[in-house]
Point group: C2
Chain length 433, copies 2
């Protein structure tokens, strides 16, 4: 078979998958080990046709896939692998550029800089910042904290008790201690005790925490960090995408005074995973923490920027292509429209929960995630969640807030409609009975 | 336009690119900033059709792409984004699975475990090891050294002066010191002074160094590390793929006593970037160094393995799909055939250099990379390289060995034929006159 024929089959598989994904159970209904046992124990001796891969994708793997593209996916943060993003990944794999340094593909580096500049404009960030793309927020935060460790003598990272686990993971890798600051009744970092930051090199503020999407007070924290000479890293991995709409920018007021910011377009900006955008207004510190150019990579391109000197990995995939394709094919208006629709749907769902007897909303809802629970014990809520997810009709996840088990409905999949949200609510009420 | 129509256009672009890549200049012939200036300063307000992306890919970006898929690409380590791998990336982006934990897509986790088991079998590694996929060797080595730091009290990493810069970068991130061990006249780590490893937590042996593909003595180093209670990490990012052919396994004899090994299928195993395979025989130490499961990710799936608990990133792309597709579509025989052909071509080129007056081979050639130079100064060799690369007919890179500037011809692109190697040699001789 030729690449054209195999490709046509793969493309047809993809198109048909996106059409029928709505009919599949959202959460994979398999036991641990089930898929593994269905696969051959050893690789083939002779090559097989690509059609065999497609066949096994359907017959063996698909039952074990949890469908992130399903409009009933409301767990964690719902995401979208949009059509332009998917096709751009095909193109990036075709080019197979490994961006170890500028000359290894000048267009990959320069498109990344341009796309990050475009995204900065869309989100209202200062255009003079340095921006580049990492795989995930775990890596972006690792890079930011390495720069903070480079810039300041302290060896402690401060963050709210609601901060993402990636902060703690990055700090552990870097040999930094983490001090967790209590959150207030709306799950925002309390600033009352933050007057003395002795020993700290960084403070991580979260705009849109993972549990409840609460928002730490960025402007106030920037003030404190500036005064105390501490690096301010803003984790807006989820909510940063909402800043494409000016009406949400209250949530990171003061952002221009942050030292670094991470936003994940693969979360809520319709870009296939992985694509994490990292900006810093202190590129020299990031560069100093990350640069290391051996002889075999030294070239005469003095004016060229090597993005591998700003992050942990030397080999870099051509991730800018998909982000560029998404920003172009949606345009500012298209992005705004879909962000606003997700928030509208979340608001709608929140209203239904508020009005329903026996249900309660347990956290403010600044964006598109609703935290709620059914009256009764934690166990009853956990059981309810398992029943809902086992139905295959919707997939939600949970968290703990104020020591209680809480359900989360996260809207972010561009294919999700009001009807899908209504259906999730129907399933929740049905399974609660 | 529909996804099917846009997809057909993207696919046609990809197929035609692979057909005509041979006619394009290998190294992009642009100045820093040239591509950037050709791109619009701001993103569009309204969405554009995907065909506009394809048009600009051709007209604006392509002149700035260095063509890693070109059969005349002989720089760094030559790679191949093979057809099954490219199409699998289309499928992975379509599914858009984010493998944060097992239930987020059981098939993604289990296919990764199976594929890593297959690859272990192909390379002759112990099947009982834990294996998973990271993006690049930089990350794999970071994870391995974090595990070493967890397992042993020392805070020094030992490696040869020929080790890859990613070892130093990982150590710096982890707060570990690096002690470089001198290499012998064939660029292998000298073991004479390695009797006392006081203070070391890890030793990195390289099988196929980046400069000359030299091979550190793994068995002897394993012996020493075992005795001294030091973690042995083997960096076989490039040469590990060759182990699919038993006749190359002398190069990592004793590998079963290593604590961790990294092999990059995106280098010499026909898998599009990024795909770095990391194995360890001490999964508990790696797990202890990396695990961190917050409440919102705790599930009842006790028997399930969360691969994010074995590496730095929480969000994980479905990278196993492309490796699985490659292993299936090539089969053991297909992989062996192409590895052997690359080595044969390198041997051929080495012979031509040896026989040509005024040229010398400057390092042993265990695999598919030839280190050589033209008689004359370092400057003359550097100028020669620039002229060859400016011709657009071949792209080579350089290194320094014994303090001298050295040219490198790396064979690894599956599309490279004897004629392409002959052409590179012709260009070298032409430009040397």
């Amino acid at each position: 078979m030729s690449f054209r024929d195999d490709g046509a089959e793969a493309l047809e598989w993809a198109a048909s998958y996106l059409e029928r994904v709505r009919e599949l159970p959202v959460l994979a209904q398999v036991e641990p080990g089930e898929i593994r046992r269905a696969l051959p124990e050893s690789p083939p001796e002779a090559g097989e046709p690509f059609s065999a891969v497609l066949r096994d994708l359907d017959e063996v793997l698909l039952p074990g896939i949890t469908h992130w593209q399903h409009p009933g996916f409301f767990a964690y943060f719902a995401t979208t692998g949009s059509e332009p993003g998917i096709l751009a990944e095909l193109l990036a794999a075709t080019l197979n550029v490994t961006q170890i340094l500028w000359r290894a593909s000048p267009a990959a580096t320069e498109l990344e800089l341009v796309t990050m500049d475009w995204l900065a404009q869309l989100l209202g960030l200062p255009r003079e910042w340095h921006g580049h793309i990492e795989d995930t927020a775990s890596t972006s935060t690792l890079a930011a904290l390495a720069a903070a460790r480079q810039a300041f003598p302290g060896r402690v990272v401060l963050c709210s008790e609601q901060a993402h686990s990636s902060v703690e993971k990055a700090a552990r890798l870097l040999g930094l201690a983490v001090q967790k600051i209590p959150a207030d009744h709306e799950f925002r970092m309390r600033t009352e005790d933050l007057h003395d930051l002795e020993g700290a090199c960084a403070l991580v503020a979260t705009v849109g925490t993972t549990s409840s999407t609460s928002v730490d007070p960025v402007a106030e924290l920037a003030e404190i960090c500036e005064r105390e000479h501490v690096w301010l890293h803003v984790d807006a991995a989820y909510a940063g995408s909402a800043m494409v709409c000016p009406e949400f920018r209250w949530a990171w007021e003061g952002i221009e005074r942050a030292d670094s910011v991470v936003v994940n377009p693969h979360k809520w900006l319709f870009t296939p995973v992985d694509c994490s955008a990292l900006w810093t207004r202190r590129p020299d510190d990031l560069h100093a923490a990350m640069t290391l150019v051996p002889e075999y990579l030294r070239t005469g391109d003095e004016d060229a920027l090597n993005l591998s000197e700003y992050g942990p990995a030397l080999g870099r995939r051509f991730r800018a292509l998909k982000l560029w394709a998404v920003l172009r094919c949606y345009g500012r208006e298209g992005l705004q429209e879909r962000i606003r629709e997700a928030v509208r749907l979340a608001e709608l769902f929140e209203g239904w929960v508020r009005e329903a007897p026996g249900w309660e909303v347990v956290a403010p809802r600044p964006f598109s995630v609703v935290c709620f629970r059914r009256e009764g014990s934690d166990e009853e809520n956990a059981d309810l969640l398992e029943r809902v997810n086992a139905s295959g009709e919707a997939f939600l996840s949970h968290t703990a807030l104020d020591g209680r088990y809480v359900l989360r409905l996260a809207i972010g999949n561009a294919r999700t409609t009001e009807e899908d949200v209504r259906r999730a609510w129907d399933v929740l009420r049905r399974e609660a009975r």
